[in-house]
């Protein structure tokens, strides 16, 4: 019994750390732009398919697949920012960019559906079947890789935000556009950089999630709903809260699968989301962001 609990904890952390990567991208963009890219999760799906395709083409070179997903994610992030968010910025609407990216999401999903069909792809990496045993617990090398890659990415991102000049500038933009201007940095470039980083992370997590998920063109939809939940539970724009909430949702998912019913995952996560909104509307770790009136 206790080994099941531990085993599921590991599974939960594996999936949760990938959700963290997806959600961090959303939260970074929200931090600098106060906008949501609804197509963010479709970048995850496209990343997964890109990794799948390249891995198979290069007869099992998964690392090349990961690189492809990373690159594709970055390119899509650039494209979505330049094509949607930049032209809509001057209109200053809260909802128009969200709606426009919903359109992008519908397009991407159905384009994938037309090209790839609705049947789930079996994405096995060379590491999916190598198992490490630790007493009664077992881990695939893929799982270890996931935890390693997402852990390192999260740490790098965290360090970048906290300690580098660009990272500080990014945070300055999220507080106040003018301050960033005073630091001699073009806010437009910073926003572009944020999109590229966030979307590259989404592509990366797609490459890592592909082997774990049921890989269909609609995989992104279930991911985005969880990512949104994570971002709200963690507090929009709050990096620490997002990490915590992502792992929490991963754990909830694996325990719900084990002890209740996989069909209930979304319901449990959403209940937690509503509870958070009711009790702590600013997220687990409260962040005070007063509106300048």
């Amino acid at each position: 019994m206790s080994s099941i609990v531990l085993q599921q904890a590991i599974n939960g952390i594996v999936v949760g750390s990938l959700y963290v990567l997806v959600a961090l991208g959303l939260t970074l963009i929200y931090g600098v732009l106060v906008q949501i890219n609804f197509a963010h999760a479709d970048i995850v799906t496209l990343g997964a398919f890109a990794a799948y395709g390249v891995t198979h083409l290069l007869s099992g070179n998964y690392l090349a697949g990961i690189a492809a997903a990373l690159g594709l994610g970055a390119a899509l992030g650039w494209l979505i920012n330049a094509g949607i968010f930049v032209p809509l910025r001057e209109r200053g609407s809260e909802l128009l960019p969200l709606i426009a990216t919903i359109g992008v999401s519908i397009m991407l999903q159905n384009a994938m559906l037309a090209l790839l069909g609705p049947i789930p792809y079996a994405f096995d990496t060379p590491y999916s079947n190598q198992v490490i045993r630790l007493g009664t617990l077992f881990l695939t090398v893929q799982n270890v890789l996931i935890i390693l890659v997402s852990g390192v990415s999260i740490a790098l991102l965290y360090g970048f935000m906290k300690f580098t000049f660009l990272g500080k500038a990014l945070r300055a933009v999220s507080q106040d556009r003018e301050t960033a201007g005073l630091m001699g940095i073009n806010p437009g470039h910073l926003i572009m950089l944020t999109f590229v980083i966030a979307s590259a992370l989404a592509g990366l997590s797609g490459a890592m999630l592909g082997p774990v998920l049921v890989l269909t063109p609609f995989a992104g939809t279930s991911v985005i709903v969880k990512a949104f939940a994570i971002v709200i539970i963690g507090g929009f724009g709050n990096v620490e809260g997002t990490i915590l909430a992502g792992l929490l949702v991963g754990l909830i998912e694996s325990y719900t699968t084990q002890f209740l019913d996989p069909g209930l995952i979304d319901i449990v996560v959403f209940a937690l989301l509503l509870l958070t909104l009711a009790v702590r509307p600013t997220g687990l770790i409260a962040e005070r962001r007063e509106e300048n009136v």
Binding site: L88, M107, F228
Partner: protein
């Protein structure tokens, strides 16, 4: 579209003329459309208009994005059907309860998220749509899950003494019922948006802090707009079940919310007539594009994005631009 023209009474009269024209169109349509396939499409069209004007009320006027229309639609459909099947309630009682339940769920949901920015409400409603779908799928003892509920009867026959009976198994009568109901909802919403309620909702859309400084209770009015929007979707659901005769959860997947959003955006949000055009176009047009298969949905997605980028006023704006181009001297209404 200026609402500041000096003669409000004349505008009010003009609106009533348009209502009358719409009623005549509704009355005449089944005379020209006799084929049962196209009559069914007309009914679907009426339901989509109901869903779209409901969404526009909360999105175009109050500026809140309700991505839960699919869930409220499903809530209305399943609750009314189950109330008839399991509790033996008469259809119209089930219809009223189903509609009210959807509206109450919408108001409740908005109360959870109103304290925060509009994005939260959009996401909470999206999450709600996913949850309702999952519940419909997984609560098999109640909904029969993916197998669905079959053989749902049409609304009961109406018989007034001295008049011929009206049976709703007849598609013409069902069209009159649904389109008539949709027209009534349209008129009520149109009257509301052209009243101080419209001013209040647009004030919230434009700037909520500013609206509060004028005595406007933002959360209350957002909940109101959400409730109206969700109730319209619930009512559409109550009609959907007997029209199709079958209920499966997939009819109420989140993507349905996006389709309704597309109708509002393409038609032109913030005017009630825009979503009507959008719903008609996006319901009827795909019938001619069936051969395209999945391309159909790609076109839906592209039309949303392109409309937001290049024609945020949708068909209505395009129409105004065209009229302006053709009759540059013409008076602007």
């Amino acid at each position: 579209m200026s609402k500041t023209s000096p003669n409000a009474a004349a505008q009010s009269r003009e609106r009533r003329v348009w209502y009358l024209i719409a009623a005549v169109i509704v009355a005449a349509l089944p005379l020209f459309v006799t084929d049962s396939y196209w009559r069914t499409n007309l009914i679907v069209c009426a339901l989509n208009i109901l869903l779209a004007i409901g969404l526009d009320f909360v999105l175009g006027y109050a500026g809140q994005l309700n991505l839960g229309q699919s869930a409220f639609y499903g809530l209305g459909a399943y609750s009314s059907t189950l109330l008839v099947l399991k509790l033996g309630l008469p259809f119209w009682a089930a219809f009223a309860i189903g509609t009210l339940m959807a509206g109450a769920a919408g108001a409740l949901l908005s109360f959870f998220a109103v304290r925060l920015r509009g994005h939260y409400l959009a996401i909470a409603s999206l999450g709600f749509a996913v949850i309702i779908y999952q519940i419909l799928l997984n609560w098999i003892s109640l909904t029969q899950g993916p197998l669905g509920i079959y053989g749902i009867a049409p609304p009961p026959t109406v018989a007034f003494p001295g008049l011929p009976q009206i049976a709703f198994g007849d598609l013409r009568n069902l069209f009159y019922l649904t389109a008539g109901f949709t027209l009534i909802v349209y008129v009520l919403l149109d009257q509301m948006v052209h009243s101080p309620i419209g001013e209040t909702l647009t004030a919230i859309r434009e700037d909520e802090v500013s609206a509060a400084s004028l005595g406007i209770d933002g959360p209350k009015w957002k909940a109101f707009a959400f409730a109206v929007s969700s109730a319209a979707a619930g009512a559409a659901g109550c009609f959907y079940a007997p029209l199709v005769g079958t209920l499966v959860p997939d009819a109420f997947f989140v993507s349905e919310s996006f389709m309704i959003l597309a109708m509002v955006i393409v038609g032109g949000m913030g005017t009630l007539v825009g979503p009507v055009f959008g719903a008609v176009l996006l319901t009827i047009l795909p019938e001619f594009l069936r051969s395209l298969g999945d391309m159909r949905l790609i076109i839906y997605g592209a039309s949303v994005t392109l409309a937001v980028l290049f024609m945020p006023g949708g068909i209505v704006e395009a129409f105004h631009l065209l009229r302006h181009r053709l009759f540059p001297e013409g008076e602007m209404r």
